[in-house]
Each structure stands twice: as C-alpha cells, then as structure tokens.
C-alpha cells in the first residue's frame, strides 16, 4: 500500500490546466525526486499531496484515505502525519525559532514539557541549537531551510514532502541538507523532494536509491539515465 498515491490527477488554476493525468505511488520508505522547469507545477503537485489543494480531476489518497472526502478536522490531523518543507518556509516571524520548530507540537496540544528533549535533539541534529531564540527574519537562507526541515519532522511523520529544500543555499549547505533527508529516509521515512537542481539530484544518486520524476508538458514522467 502506497503512503500517498495520485490517481489520474489533473489540476487547473481557474480553468487553466497545469497538470493532467498524473499518477504516482509513493511506497513506504521510498525516496523520490520531483523535477521540472520553473512553473511546471512542482509546488502544486506537493500541495495536492497534503490536501492544501484538491485535484480538479482524479483522486489523491494518503494513508488510504481520499483527501477530497476528509472533513476539515481530518485534514488537520492528516497534516500532522505528513511533514512538509514549504518552498517559502512559512514561519511565524514574531516567534523565536524554537517555537516555530515546535509549532506542530503546540497546535496539536502536546505537553511541551515532555517534548522538550525531542525539540532540543532535533535542533541539535540540524545544527541550530545556538539559534533557538533568534527570530526567523534574522536567519540566513541555510538556517531557514534547516529550521523548516526540523519543523517538518518534529511530529515524526511517516512521509516528508520537501519543496526546494535547497533553494537559496550554497553547494555545501545543499549537501548538508541532502544528507539530513537521506538520513531520514534510512530511518524508514518516505521522502519526496522537489528540486530543479540537477547537480543535487545527481549527487544524491550515490547516497540513496531514488526515483526521479519529471513534470513535462503537464504530465509526470519517470526520468531516465540522462540524469
């Protein structure tokens, strides 16, 4: 059973078709890259995977549930099981970094006293222990991306969807982020990474068994050996 599956999905923004007949299964523990030119619909496809958008055609299933059939509360609960690194990070600028990372825990009513070690460990894992009190606008691009990744995994989700997790960072930092994602995959998490950075994808091939999906002319294809 796939963790997330798209069945003949089509999506149009106000009548303008962007994706058509997209079918893909993210099986448990798999690692996928999603690539394609800017504007091809990578972010849109990721949004379809966690119910931020509902397909105009076809069906999206997550943990065997049809996302279009979930009520609002169920959608919220689903998002606690799917870790998302948003392309623009989506922090609350008035809250210190530690709170931003802990946000999913806070809104799900977890006892923060008990979760403190979890948070500390995670901030250490992404190398941000010293930045706990910084406000998001004070962070560098690499720090933001690592914080976004930490927030995505703090609920120990089964699946991680990362939208351009290495945007705005230099090569060394993108390698570091890639390592973290590979580490998560080794822990058994299903990972989908949207990226237009082909060099990164090539570098990843040495570290992990990854399938590369490409959006081309509204359709999703499996990229071949040219990568």
């Amino acid at each position: 059973m796939a963790v997330i599956s798209l069945e003949q999905v089509g999506y149009s923004y106000s009548g303008k078709e962007l994706l058509s007949d997209v079918s893909v299964d993210l099986s448990p523990g798999s690692f996928h890259f999603l690539t394609g030119p800017s504007g091809s619909g990578k972010t849109t496809l990721i949004k379809l995977c966690y119910g931020a958008l509902l397909p105009t055609v076809g069906r999206v299933r997550a943990f065997d549930a049809d996302l279009a059939a979930l009520d609002r509360d169920q959608t919220a609960l689903l998002r606690r099981r799917v870790g998302v690194v948003h392309q623009d990070c989506r922090f609350l600028d008035h809250l210190p970094l530690a709170d931003n990372i802990a946000l999913p825990l806070i809104v799900s009513g977890r006892d923060m006293g008990q979760e403190n070690t979890n948070l500390t460990d995670l901030m250490h894992w992404v190398g941000l222990s010293a930045r706990a009190d910084a406000l998001p606008p004070e962070l560098s691009g690499g720090e933001r991306q690592r914080a976004a990744l930490a927030r995505a995994v703090i609920m120990s989700p089964d699946v991680i969807l990362a939208d351009e997790p290495t945007g705005n960072v230099d090569w060394d930092m993108s390698q570091r982020l890639l390592k973290l994602l590979v580490e998560l995959n080794r822990m058994g998490k299903t990972v989908l990474v949207a990226s237009h950075d082909l060099a990164l994808i090539r570098a990843a091939k040495n570290q992990v068994q990854a399938r590369v999906l490409r959006i081309s002319e509204k359709r999703l294809q499996l990229a071949g050996a040219d990568l």
Binding site: A52, L95, D99
Partner: protein, 299 residues
C-alpha cells in the same frame, strides 16, 4: 455558549495565545467600545427598571383609590352622604368607603388656600374616599346608579389622568429594554468588525497554523479568547462607572418624582452585573462566527 466552550475558553492554551501576535490598536478599541456600551447599558437598564417600578406603582395605587364628590346644600349634605355610603357598601368590589372629615378636607385644601380658610362658609363638596379591593368594581354601573339616586354626585376614579401617565411609564420601560437590546446589537456589530480586522491582519498566521495541522477550533479559540476577555474587561469597567454614576444620582427620598427615582433598588443593584457577562457572551459569539467564516475560505 456551551459548558465545554467556557471551560476551553478559561483554561485556554497559554501557548496558543502567543501564536497570534498582540494587536495594540484593535485591543484598545475593543476594550474602549465595550466599556462605553456597558456604561450606556447600565443607564438604559436603570431607566427601564425605574420606569417599570413607576408604572406598576401608579397603576396599582391609582386603580385602587377613587373619590366620590357630593355637591349639595348644607342641609341635604348629610342625608346624601349617608345614602351614598349605603350604596357604596352594597357595591361589589368596593373594599371600603369613608366620608372625609371637615378637618381632612381642610388639610387637602390648605396648600392652595392657606390654613385659615373658613371652610364652613364655602360650598365645598363632601368627599368620600373609595378603596377598591382586588378585582375592582364596575365604575360605569356605579356611576349610573349614583346619578339616579344622588343628585350632584360625581365619581372620579382618576382614569382620565391615570391612563396616559401609566402608558408613558410603560413605554419608557419598553424604550429602556429596547435600548439595552440595541446596545447589545451594536456591541456585536462592533466586535464582529474588530474580529474581522484581527483575523484579516493575521491571515498569514492563520494560514501557517492551518498548514502545520491546527484544527479550526484551536485557531478560532485563540481569537475568541482574546475578544471575549477584552469585552469582559471593557464592559466590567464601563459597568462599574455606570453603576457609580447611577449611585451618585440624588436619591428618591419622599419626593417620589420620576427623575429622582432613576436608579436601582435592592436586588436591582445586581442586574448591572449581567452586563459584562452578556457583553462577553456577545463578543464570544461574534468572534466565533467571524472566525468560522474566515477559516472556511482556507483549505
């Protein structure tokens, strides 16, 4: 407001409070307007309660007493008075009837003519005080019978000038109640606007909370809590000032006039305590409705 809602509101999530950034201006305006509304509501309540009391008292007192006037020459007077008293005694609904003594009549006239009035030498009618019991008597029937048997007898049951007064006091009470309702609606409208402004200003925050798995209830609660507390604080302050103002009004004393009677009496002083509670309830409902509407736009 259900019991669970109140518990949720009070217990609240201190963490949740911090997630929405504080908003100085909306907060201050909400508190101020709630206070002003509560202040006005206290006066409208005082007006309504006082005019209600007045209407009841006038209606009650005036309905119970009437005056029978007998104008007759001095020699016939005693006979006709006796006859009138006999008729009144037989009339169902009359509790008692009593001829006023010359001294009592002189006392009634004294304020107008002075105490040294030689009452004996003036053609002053004899007055009989009639007091009705519970259901009262048939004034028209009594009038007919009196006019047939006792020439020069006039029954004045005060209806003529009682009715407009009681009606005026009654409408004043209705006006007061209506004002309280209007104030409540105005407050609901104002809090709705403020809540919409607050929600719009925090659209990004709400979106992020929703993205990381917050349920609608959780997000709405953060706002409900804020606006309910602000309305409660503002309205409590306004209510206290209003009650203070009412307490400072001159007391009724003996005068029993309308303006001096404007205030609360006895347990009535507890009624204003409802104002902040109702204000908080209105704020809660208005914010909840606004939050629901806002959240539904978000997938």
């Amino acid at each position: 407001m259900k019991k669970g809602d109140i518990r949720e509101l009070l217990a609240g999530d201190v963490q949740a409070d911090r997630l929405v950034p504080p908003s100085g201006l909306t907060a201050h305006l909400t508190i101020f307007v709630s206070g002003a509304m509560a202040f006005l509501a206290v006066f409208a309540l005082a007006l309504s309660l006082a005019s209600g009391r007045l209407a009841d008292r006038w209606a009650d007192e005036l309905a119970r007493s009437a005056t029978l006037r007998i104008s007759a020459s001095a020699d016939q007077r005693a006979v006709l008075t006796e006859a009138a008293l006999a008729i009144l005694e037989q009339t169902p609904g009359v509790a008692s009837a009593r001829a006023m003594t010359p001294e009592e009549q002189a006392a009634l006239l004294a304020p107008w003519f002075g105490a040294s009035l030689p009452l004996d030498s003036l053609p002053v009618p004899q007055l009989i005080e009639v007091v009705a019991d519970g259901p009262g008597y048939d004034a028209e029937g009594l009038r007919l019978r009196l006019s047939a048997e006792i020439p020069g007898a006039v029954l004045d049951d005060h209806t003529r000038w009682r009715e407009p007064l009681v009606r005026a006091a009654g409408s004043l009470r209705t006006l007061g109640v209506f004002s309280v309702l209007l104030i409540g609606c105005a407050m609901a409208a104002m809090i709705t606007l403020a809540a919409h402004a607050g929600l719009a200003a925090n659209a990004q925050v709400i979106e992020v909370l929703r993205l990381v798995g917050a349920q609608d209830r959780y997000i709405a609660n953060a706002f409900e809590r804020r606006f309910t507390l602000r309305a409660l604080i503002g309205a409590a302050g306004g209510m206290a000032l209003g009650v203070f103002g009412v307490a400072l009004l001159p007391s009724a004393g003996d005068a029993d006039g309308f303006l001096t009677g404007l205030g609360f009496q006895g347990a009535g002083w507890l009624v204003p305590l409802l104002v902040p509670l109702l204000g908080a309830g209105v704020a809660f409902a208005a914010t909840r409705a606004a939050a629901r509407r806002r959240l539904e736009r978000l997938q």
